[in-house]
Amino acid sequence: MESVIIQSLKKGELTMEEFNVISDIFSQAITGELIGMSNFASLAETIDDPHEKMEAVEHANSERMHAEGFLAYARKKNLKINVNMNGEYWGNVRKQFLKYAHNRDFTACLIIQEVMLESFAISMYNDVGHALGGEAGDLFISIGNEEKEHLEHSSDLLCAELKKDPAAFESKFEEIHFNCMSILAEFSATTDLRGHCGVCNGDCMKGSLHHVGLDIVTLRGNAMAIYEEALDNIGISGEKSIIWMARLPA
């Protein structure tokens, strides 16, 4: 039986360019969720407190469910999915996370996974959801809303951490910002600053996003705005965050 996508292509409802870019968008989302799942699983191994350990596993499961949701839709529509957790950007983000997880630095892990990665997920899922519309759009928006809850929850925890020792907390956050956000900034720049991501099927999808009503400048700008909002909510001052943002690669 022909896939819905092939049928859509034949009917002229979906062009080949649209099919390719939608496939790449789903590939990125699935890879990102699997990175999140693996991060939480790694984090669970480092935690002694049984309740916190269970919470980390629960989070890992939540990310797994998101990946399952995207995969199910991709299978149904016969999208061309490429998952690669060891590519230039996703792989390096994962390495950064593992570095802190091995040091049992729960706060750092929370910052990477729940603030940095979730900020990008929330924003981009929202933008993609509205651009795609229909069943695919609803899927992105509902998963984005769940990710939003993760970010809000972790912001409260990190805000409490900041109050304990503001100088030490800001210093740690700054280090993680430049270690991890720099990778995401390079990944989301108008041109891949470190080469191909290893996830997109062909050339970088950024140049093709206009086929589905998106553009990388807006996607990146909105994602950075959500991240900045998170910094504000945690209690990082504007004087600090503007310097952090200005020093990111672009």
Binding site: P166, T190, V217, R220, G221, N222, M224, A225, E228, E229, D232, S237, G238, E239, S241, I242, I243, M245, A246, R247, P249, A250
Partner: protein, 354 residues
Amino acid sequence: MDGTTPSIDFAAIGHQDSWQNISAFVNSIRNTGQGKLSCEKIKDIFGFISPKEIFRIKARSKTGTEINGVYIETFIDPDKLHSQFVRANINKVLAAASRAKRLGSKMVTLGGFTSIVLEGELESLSTRETKFTTGNTLTAAFIVKGIEKAAERLGISLHQSDILIIGATGDIGMACANYMKSRANKLLLCARNYQRLEKMAGQLVKEKIKIDFSVRLEDLLPQAKIIIAVASSMDIKLNHCNKNVLICDAGYPKNLENNIIYKKDVHLFHGGMGQVSGGYDFSPDYSRSIYHYEAPHLVHGCILEAMVLAFEKRFESFSSSKGNITTDKMEEIYRLSMKHGIGLAPLYNSKGLW
């Protein structure tokens, strides 16, 4: 705010009017090894940034009093100051206002374009703890005092001069008209909205003030010996000015010099500016990248109004809704500013001091 953080006496909400300034600022805070970001790269992200505090200010009165302030940047895109972006710009200004309140600012002033986009909505922003002002009263005072000073220097008699006000129906334009109506030979009023202009003109005629008014600048320019430009438009073209005309450029951005054809016979200064004799410091100190004036410690009148009120511990909405600036209020805030060593800025333009 913890016990070691100084309380914030005033906050200045502002925006940038050129990519050149933004680029200089952004690249000044990047690490030297990173290389400079191109203006195009900065444009890609600037407008997405939410309003936030950029630096702290400590200002000193000549009475010895010190006040603490903060500058909050709205991150309004300088290419989007037009009316079609008004909703987005209002949201940015409201977010900046919330930020000022959250920081515990007692007094907040809306600099430049930020008060224009919120016109009429300012009073609702004030709370018991935080008062908002447009800063327009002191700005207007510095404009008219600047005109008086420049006219005296050039040997121009105000009483014998026809004074053209471009942007006459705006808050500052009306204040300048009220001040000048008893001092000039004739007022020439120009604004985009004919109905507002006609209403204002009607009121002045009742007061037996000599006036002419038009929405077309070229109708009034040949008569004008003195021009006060307070409009926020970027499209003002001063073709056919009188010889030796005196111009106060007090609009946003201050770019009239680019729009004058015969520059030789024109005496133009940037108006609405004051100078803090006691000085002020920024922390972090970005003055090398953001301060471009020829003389030290110059500040826009709108920001100075909040500083003066903070020095006086008069945390109130001194300038709030449009059309309420009286000559008495202009004299009052000007007198208070002088008390704290905040005087009229020396006359200058883009080429330097007069």
